[in-house]
Amino acid sequence: MNIDMSRFYQVFFDEASEHLAAMEGLLLDLDVESPDLEMLNAIFRAAHSIKGGAGTFGFTDMAQMTHVLETLLDRLRKQEMSPTTEMIDAFLQAGDVLRAQLAAHQDGIEYDDPRIAAIAARLERLAQLDADASAPASLPSHFNAEAAVWRIEFCPDVIELQSDSDLQTLADALAELGAFARLAPDQPDGCRWRLTTRFDQAAIIETFAFVCDPQQIRILPDEQTPAVALSDSQQVEDDAGFGFFDGAPGSERALAAGSQQQEDDDGFGFFDGAPGSEQALDQEHEGFGLFGGSPGMEQVAAVATQDRADSHQGYGFFSPAPSLSEQADDRAPPAASGTGDSGAPPPTAGVQRTSESVKRPAVTDSSIRVSVEKVDQLINLVGELVITHAMLAESASGLDPVVNERILSGLSNLERNSRDLQQAVMSIRMLPISFVFNRFPRVVRDTAATLGKKVNLRLVGEDTELDKGLIERLADPLNHLVRNSIDHGIELPERRRAAGKSETGEITLRASHRGGSVVVEVSDDGAGLNRDKLLAKAAQQGIPMPEHPSDKEVWQLIFAAGFSTAEKVTDISGRGVGMDVVRRNIDEMNGRVEIDSSPGRGTQITIRLPLTLAILDGLSVRMGEEIFILPLTAIQESIQPRAEQFKTVSGKGQLAEVNGDYLPLVVLHDIFQLGGERIRQEEGILVIVDTNEGRVALLVDELVAQHQVVIKSLETNYRRVEGISGATIMGDGRVAMILDVDALARLSRK
C-alpha cells in the first residue's frame, strides 16, 4: 500500500512558503556589490530545501524551477561568478513563479504559464554567462548586457500571419533587434532563424506578437553558438576584477576593469563625499546616476532602507553625500530600466559596504510549529479560567476575611497567576509587524520602477508586536496605501525637483504601540491631497458635503467607494476601489483610519488597531435586562440628556440635539425589539458614537463599566446578526453582544 503523501502536503506548503519568503527577504537585502557569502548560502539553502521538498512530493514543475535557480545560486556561492542586479531580478521573478506554482498545488491544480519557461531560460542563460556582467548600466528594458543568440523555430502555416504581413516583414522587424540570420531556407512547414541580439526573449516575443500568436513560436537560447557580443568594447575580460570582495587591494583591479566603461576613477570619489564627485558625475556614463540615494540596489531607485529604530544602526555612509545623490539622480533614466540591465558596481562602494555592513544576528531558530487552532483553544481555556476565577471571587466576596484569610489570599494568588497566564498565552499569537512590513521593499521597488519614480522606503518599529490574525489582514490595506502613495503621492522626479525637494521620494511605514492599541502609519513626502480637486470631484459625483467642510471631512472623501482623483486609470491604482476597501478592512478589524495631509509636504495615513482581534476595549451598557458592549473606539462622548433635547421630524424618526448639532437618535430598544419596560428617554444616557454614516446618538438605559472583552464570533455556531459584531463572555459567565455601531446607524435609517 502506498503511503498517502497528501497528508504531508500541508507541511511542505507551509515550509516552502516560509523558505520563499526568507529567500525573497534575503535577495532584497543582498548587496550586489559585496555579496555576503553567508546570505548567498542562506538563499541557496532555501532554494535547495524547496527543491528537495518539491521532489519528494512529486511537484516536478517546482523542482525543475528550483533546480535552475539552484544551479545559478550554486555558482554564486562558490564565487565562480558574482551576482548582478539582473540575477536578483531573475531570482525574484523565479520566486514569484514558485509562489504561484505553490498556490496552484495547494488548490490541487497545475500552474501553467509561459512565464515559467521564460524565467527558467533566463536563469539558465545567466548561469552560463561568465562573470563579466559588466556593461553599461542604462539600457532600455529588455536589453541585456550580453548579446545572446536565440534560435527561433516556428511553422509559418500555423502561426496565422495577419493578412498584411508576411515572413519578410517579420524578418525585417527582427533584424532591427540584432543580427538576423536564416539557419535554413524558409519552408511552409518550418522556419529556423537565428537572432543575435541584446534584447531578451520578451522583446522577441513582442515583435512576433505584432503579426501572430507568439505561443506558436519556439524561442530558445542557442547553446551551440557561443554568444557573440555586438561590441567588443563592452566586453570586459573575466579577470580577477572581482577580487574586490576581498577588500581594497582587489578593488583597484576592478576599477581598472571598470574604466573600460568610460568610468573615471574620480567617479568613485563621490561616495566618500569627495569634491571630485561632481566632476565624476559629468564624465560619467548616464547610468551611474542611479547609484544616488540607493546604495543597496543600484539599478532601481526604490530601496528599502531598513531603518530600524530611526536608523540607529543605519548605514552611516549614505549621509555624507545626500546632495550628491540628488545630482546623481538627475542623470538617472526612468527607473524602469531596472529590469534588464546589469550594472557595473562602483567597487569602492562595495568595499565600504563590506566594512560597514550590518551583521545580521544569526537567527537561532528554536521554535515549534503549532496550529493556530491549538493556540486558540488554549486562549479559550485560559479565558474560561479567568471567568471561573471571577465567579469564585464573587462568591467568596461574602466571606469573613478574618476567618477565611487563607482562601482569600489563595484567590488573589490565583488571580495574579491566571492573568499572567492569559497574557503569556495571548503573546503566543503575537508576531512582530515585520512579517507584513518585509514585503514592502519589494512592492516599493517594483511599483516605483513601473511608474518611473524614485522612492525610498523607511521602515520604523518593525518589532512592534500584534496579533497574527491582524497581521494577515493588515497586509492588503497596507499594500493599497503604499501603492497609492507611490502612484498619487510621490511626484515624478522632475516635478519633485521643480518643487525643490529631493528627487527621491520617501515613504515611511511606522508601527508603534500607543496605549492599548497599535498605530501603523503610512506617510509620504509627496504632493499631498488637493482639497479643491477632492471637493470638485465630490460635487461631480454627487457626494453631499457640508458647506464649509473641515480638512478632515475632505480627506475622508478618498475613502468613498468609486472615488478616484487619478486622471487616468493605471494597473496600479485609479479605479477608486482601493481606498474604500482599505477603510472596510480596517473597520472589520475594529480599527480607525485617519488622514493628515498638507499640500506639497505629503500625506500621512494613520491606522489605529486594537492589539489583537481577540480583545476589544468596550463599554458595557444596559438596556432593560440585557447588557451590550459598545466598542470604546467608536464612542465620542456620553451625556445625560434633557427632555427638550429629543426632537422629532415627521416621518423621519427622531433626532437628538447635542451641542448644537442634530444627530439621528438610535433607540436600541426599538431596533432590537427588546420588549420589557421602557424608561423615559430623559432618564437614559445618550452615547455619541462615530460611525460610517456620521455621528449618531445611541440611547441606552445605563452605562455599566469599561471592560476588556474577549471577542467571540457568533457565526461559529450561528449566523450573522445585523447590528451585532460578535459576542463576549462577561465576568459572571453570561454572554453579552457586542454592538456594531455602523450597522446600527444603517438599521435605524430603515
Partner: protein
Amino acid sequence: MSEERKDGAAMIASGSREYLTFTLGAEEYGLDILKVQEIRGYDAVTKIANSPDFIKGVINMRGVIVPIIDLRLKFNLGQVEYNQFTVVIILNIAGRVVGVVVDGVSDVIALGRDQIRPAPEFGALLDTAYIDGLTTLDERMVIMVDIEKLMSSSEMGLIEQTQAGLA
C-alpha cells in the same frame, strides 16, 4: 446502508444503531446519538435581537457561544415553563454546536433499520422531509428526526443561506 456508514453512524453487529429519545409535550422523538455532544441543564440565555422566537438565545459553554433552540416552540407544541427537568441536548452538527431545549431525555435505544417505518405524508408542521421514520417502543410511537437535515435547513435560519447548501 452505505450512505449511513458514510454518516459515521454506529453500525452495531446486528445492523442496528443507537438513538436518544426525548419528549416534547406528549410526543416522543428520537435522534441519532452520534450527533449528541452532551446533555446539560437549562441555563439563562442571552437573547439575540430580531431572531425567531424558537431561538431562545445563546449561552456560554466553556467559552463557546452556543445558540439554543426550543424545539417545542419550533414544532408549535405550546410554551412550557422551564424547570429543573428541562434539559438541553448539545448537538454537534456539520461542525457546528447547537443546543436544543427538550422537556426531558428518556432513553437510549438501539434500533435496526427494519424497525423504522417510513412516515406517511401528512399535514404536520414538521415537514416529513425531516422525519426519518416512525417506530414503536412499548406501544408508544417514537418519531425519528433527521436532526442534521432539520438543523441545517433554511427554515431554522441557524446557518447562513450560502453555507446551508454546503452543510
